[in-house]
Subunit: 173 residues, 2 copies
DNA sequence: ATCATTTCATTGCAAATGAAATGAAGTCAA
DNA sequence: TTGACTTCATTTCATTTGCAATGAAATGAT
């Protein structure tokens, strides 16, 4: 090895740090006022968009693992923000939806989220960044597909549940 | 509120999900083989670049909070990968450096990291994404500076330690 | 129909994390 | 010099998370 990695020029690192920072700053807009964690907000936002949703689908859509979703949903349920119902066609499934109270809370947070996003740069800059992220998404999909096609043992092991969780996500662009 | 937020078009969300996914897939390249967590890798990578470093500076550079750094460093120390030494000029400080073993491990992971990055898109695409991320970084800095200048009570509270941790980071471009 | 396998949501366990607290050391003002 | 205040790394405490396990339900093969 000739030179240490230059972290500031290393894309995965740069992406991770800025994403964490962005999340933290957005969360600052709603956490103290509404006592909602990042995971909980993400779940609420998805439920507001498509409802009811199963744990499995919610996990895929939010890029969270299923225990995390299950627990976050239970926390939200304790606060009357979401409700769960069995699915008659498949008794394994649980249908999760926002309550009226959850909808109201969502409506109060959305303006904060929009205002925050508006400060991240003008429309052109944001469009450019989104295009870059879309391209990255495509590359990651390709990498995962290649790993599956190769039947590579290491990749199979490390992708494990992640691969199956991502599959429906890729199917819903 | 007229319409629910379109999460796929919401930049902070898109960024968070792709960053998490990227990190997870990169981590898959080294976690099973070397039993190194994402935080630990980040710390090792920084120590390989600049050493010795204090917990404070390491926390700032890795965008982690100080307890997390302190603990990760202790885990790495238990494995003989890093060492700690007091700083004679300021007894509060602890100087952290990679051991020979830590350097060797770093050297084995770097090719994996580089190979992973190379698969994230061609040089032009990556450069465009990095440019977008740099612009975002600038916006986030500006937002934090504005919050501090306004002396806004809410922003001060939620930024708290984060602001002071980010300060040296901004000063080392 | 039976049985093997897969899928689902939840739970258990151990480890990690975040916020607050702590005690030591340093800086600054009077 | 003393005392107030700040900074540092670590620890405590409560909570969350990740992985594995679990039991129920569904699917597929025979």
């Amino acid at each position: 090895m000739d030179e240490p990695l230059d972290l500031d020029g290393f894309l995965p690192y740069r992406l991770a740090v800025l994403a964490a920072r962005t999340s933290r700053m957005l969360a600052a807009a709603y956490q103290a006022r509404f006592d909602i964690s990042i995971h909980e907000w993400r779940i609420i936002a998805h439920l507001a968009q498509a409802s009811p949703v199963t744990v499995r689908d919610l996990a895929a859509r939010t890029d969270l693992d299923r225990p995390a979703v299950s627990r976050a949903v239970d926390r939200l349920r304790l606060r009357g923000l979401v409700e769960k119902a069995p699915v008659s066609t498949d008794r394994r499934l649980v249908a999760i939806a926002l309550t009226g109270e959850g909808q109201a809370l969502y409506g109060r947070i959305v303006p904060l989220a929009r205002a925050f996003e508006a400060r991240l740069g003008d429309a052109d800059a944001q469009a450019a960044l989104m295009a870059g992220l879309d391209a990255l998404d495509t590359e990651l999909d390709a990498m995962e597909a290649a790993a599956r096609a190769a039947g590579d043992r290491n990749a199979d092991q490390s992708d494990g549940d992640g691969s199956s969780a991502n599959q429906p996500q890729s199917g819903q662009p």
